[in-house]
Amino acid sequence: MKSFEFFEPTTLAEASNLFAKEHAQLLAGGTDLVIGMKAYTETPASVVSLEKIPGLTGITVDNDNSITIGAMTKVREVELSNDIRQHHTALAEGASEIGSIQIRNLATIGGNIAHASPAADTVAGLLVADAQVNIASANGERSVPINELFTGPGQTVLKPGEIITQFRLPNPASGSHYIKHKIREVMDLAFIGVASAVDVQNGVIEEARIGLAAVAPTPIRATEAEDLLKGKRPTPELLQQAGEAAAAATSPISDLRCSAEHRKEMVDVLTRRTLQNALDRA
């Protein structure tokens, strides 16, 4: 690992100023950064730890049932939180799919998102939760919908010095489900990740959200498939149409792990499957 200067600021403004400097890198859980530094794929001149800044951890439920998750909250805490399991099941399921328990005890949800891997396991759950990403810098705060955060693999709209502080999850859908398509039970990278969330009133789908990971340069919502579902009663034919529409929205790559064709086909299959499970839970 190359040498670097290490900072542990205690305020966001201080952290933002340090992070805005050239070749500075933020340290959250370290599970991506430390490994990257060992491999010399990351060679920051300075590393700015967020651990000593108060107020960045924890899961809180507000009066209107919206939930706020601090960016420095450990993925393991997201996975085990009763509030997240109950109201945003797909997100808890995604969190439980990351690495091993040892890694989930280190990794943070903010790091999982800021790293901007198209295959991040919490991203599909946050997409179908319609999460807002709260961002702070020395110049102030702003909020970005999660589906507008990513611009490419490893790329986000975050500007120099901007730090993700919280995820705000509005009033939850009544049922959701996440499936990670993978080979190993643990310690695997998603071939694809699919989450669905639905609200059902009197047998009619009022709201449907489908989040897809590892099938395009960024995580995406399958909005055409969602629109097909809204206002209709769920039938196998309808779910099939939604699966096909979701697959059509993707632009996957072929790599060592699987082919683009397989990924597209599995988006269709897993969209139907997650929708059915979300409906069963709603």
Partner: protein
């Protein structure tokens, strides 16, 4: 690059050290403090050989910068036995033959300890799944699982 003063609380002992920020907790434990029970396997978080317990949670110490472990309670394999008596998990690994070359054993024992401390009432399937972050290159998984189940049973009975 400037070294940082850290105070590491390892197995109840305080170590006031000056360390380079680029040193992982694993490197500090092994090379600076001399506790070589914790092993370096893959060094990418995949194998679990470097598992230690920090503030009650099992973590892969190869992914932790030593400077960030200051003031936290760290337990390594050397800290499990007390007054010359092995921890039930250590004893169970011996009783069942839950080790072959022994390289993965400290990591498996520390990961298992955190699991049984959290909840010894897990099913075999749950233990299997929860230990997925530890790899045994001798593939002695059956005996390892037997050891963990035996220790969990013993801890349940005595609690």
């Amino acid at each position: 690059m400037a070294k940082h003063p850290v105070s590491l609380k390892v197995n109840g002992d305080e170590h006031d050290l000056l360390i380079e920020p680029r040193k992982t907790l694993l490197a500090v434990l092994r090379d600076t403090i001399g506790l070589t029970g914790t092993k370096e396997g893959c060094s990418t978080g995949d194998c679990g050989a470097c598992t230690v317990i920090v503030d009650g949670k099992a973590v892969t110490s190869c992914m932790v910068l030593g400077v960030t472990a200051s003031e936290k309670e760290i337990t390594t394999i050397e800290g499990l036995a007390s007054d010359g008596e092995l921890h039930p998990i250590q004893q169970a690994f011996i009783d069942t033959g839950g080790y072959q070359c022994g390289f993965c054993t400290p990591g498996f024992i520390m990961a298992s300890k955190a699991l049984v401390d959290e909840n010894p009432d897990r099913s075999e399937e749950e233990f299997r799944f929860a230990l997925g972050g530890n790899i045994c290159r001798c593939t002695g998984y059956t005996k390892i699982l037997e050891a963990v189940l035996q220790a969990a049973e013993e801890i349940r009975t005595n609690s």
